[in-house]
Amino acid sequence: MDQSKAMEEITFIKKVITDSQQIFVNNGRQYILWSSLAILGILLKYINDLTKISISALWIWIPILFIGWLSTFILKKRFYKELPAKTFVQKIFDGSWTALAVAFPILCLVGFYTHAIQPWAVPSVIATIFGCGYFITGILSDSLWIKLLAVCWWIFAIVMFLIPGEHSVPLLGLMLILFQLIPGILIYVRWKKKTGI
């Protein structure tokens, strides 16, 4: 073996490592789950306001978050069983969304409860976090349309910060359907077709 052959071996190893590192699975289930729960929460809040039952918003959102976390835990357990390999990028992807899912209740529940975050700002905070999640996903998957979803969420966040009002929550519901639920279904259908599961 000469030096050029050794160099060739190293280059080959680097290529194999780089190629395998970049693979990650995004099956869209989390988007469907969380957007459905959030839409349910918004509907319950709307009914609550409409009927003037006046239950605290926390009593709506805490059970929803609990169901979301429990379902996520069950789905993740199943997902890791189905996963062909847990790559470095997969860890970054899962870790990023987990971190953002922790940030949600801190900002939107604790922040709301302590009055650090005003109720009118909650939709903008949620949209900002979604924007971060989608941007990271778009970068990792090198997908332009997912990066554009992030931009849409951030634009919505800015608009809602500038023009707050009663329309913020229903608009957030619409955004969740258009930019979370539908993309989630599309990603899920694509993943199903690809894996045949």
Partner: protein, 98 residues
Amino acid sequence: MTDFNYRKLDEIIHSRIRLAVMAILINVEEAEFLFLRKQINTTDGNLSIHLKKLEEAGYIAVKKSFVNRKPVTAYRLTDKGKNAFRNYINHLEGFIKK
């Protein structure tokens, strides 16, 4: 002149397919057979032979399970395998630096 001795290279790793398997497994906790086959772009039979060699050397460990009622075989690097891979890389790098 260098004092590089190609005989010092680990012969178990020193094969393109086995080297690729080790390079993939060094990065992941474990990987399924189908994932390895797709990444390495080889046949089932060929990959099985190379995996068997690595397994016999104690470099990889096998785990068989059922997912959605389908049998799944997953592989992971053992500590012995990790050390062997690192030594292999160090040896190659040492040669290039000389």
